[in-house]
Amino acid sequence: MKSAVVLLPGLNRDRDMIAALTKISGKAPETVWQTDTEIPDVDLIVIPGGFSYGDYLRCGAIAARMPIMNAIREKAEKGVMVMGVCNGFQILLEAGLLPGALMRNASLKFVCREVKLEVSNANTAFTRGYAPGQIIRCPVAHHDGNFFADEETLKRLEGEGQVAFRYAEGTNPNGSINDIAGIVSERGNVLGMMPHPENLIEAAHGGTDGRALFSGVLGIAA
């Protein structure tokens, strides 16, 4: 399986993501720049975290209007796997590839710590490496991770099993509605999540709970 990482000015987790993908797949991912209009033939496209365009206007708003996003949208429509982490999630929402919005944390504070995630749906391409309901450790680092969707959208997300990850009881760090930490698209090939699985993949990180997400989506034995 081949992957590509999207680079935008102001992202800062791109190297972590490239390192994670390289370690787990054994191959360095391709990189694409925001003004590129074509993406190489890959199975997984990842938008990493950071602060694209300094979070100007709204987190992810400017990045979501860059030329590369049209190419990503086309690939997603063809069924290519797309994953956005943290700012990447914000960008996917702003681009309309996933429903809902991420607002300022309810505490108004930047949260940088470890939380527990519950695998709400282990039947997606991204979560198949986990057991249903499994509780995993995962770091978060964000100021705007407070997921919001209108009632109708929320009903659809819950009803169709589009909630992939939830903050485990008592660990919701940002006020997200229904403790939602990560969602997949209707078709299941686009994932957006606030926590950083790429930062928990080897012993030196203090744990490897994030590994199964990458090995699952890349079709590699964990």
């Binding site: 209007r65 607002m103 919001f148």
Partner: protein
């Protein structure tokens, strides 16, 4: 040239933690009786046209496509 002001506000029912914090700060400054504050954004836009109707439709399109996130925000356009 047309000058316009676009105002973007949070939709009713969308929680505004920043607005709530501002209410708290106003209260601590001694401003009593502030029931609610909702924080929004203002964009002053200059357009190179004389056609007000066209300006308005362009500004609305700009709001739908970029200036507002219509999942959580409403907007209004005022042409000077």
């Amino acid at each position: 040239m047309i000058k316009a002001r676009v105002t973007v506000t949070l939709k009713n029912g969308v929680l505004d933690p920043q607005g709530k914090a501002i209410v708290g700060a106003l209260d601590s400054l001694g401003f009593e009786g502030v029931n609610s504050v909702r924080q929004g954004k203002v964009f002053d836009v200059e357009l190179d046209t004389k056609d007000k109707a066209q300006a308005e439709s362009h500004l609305k399109a700009m709001c739908d496509k970029l200036l507002a996130n219509t999942v959580i925000e409403d907007y209004s356009v005022e042409i000077a």
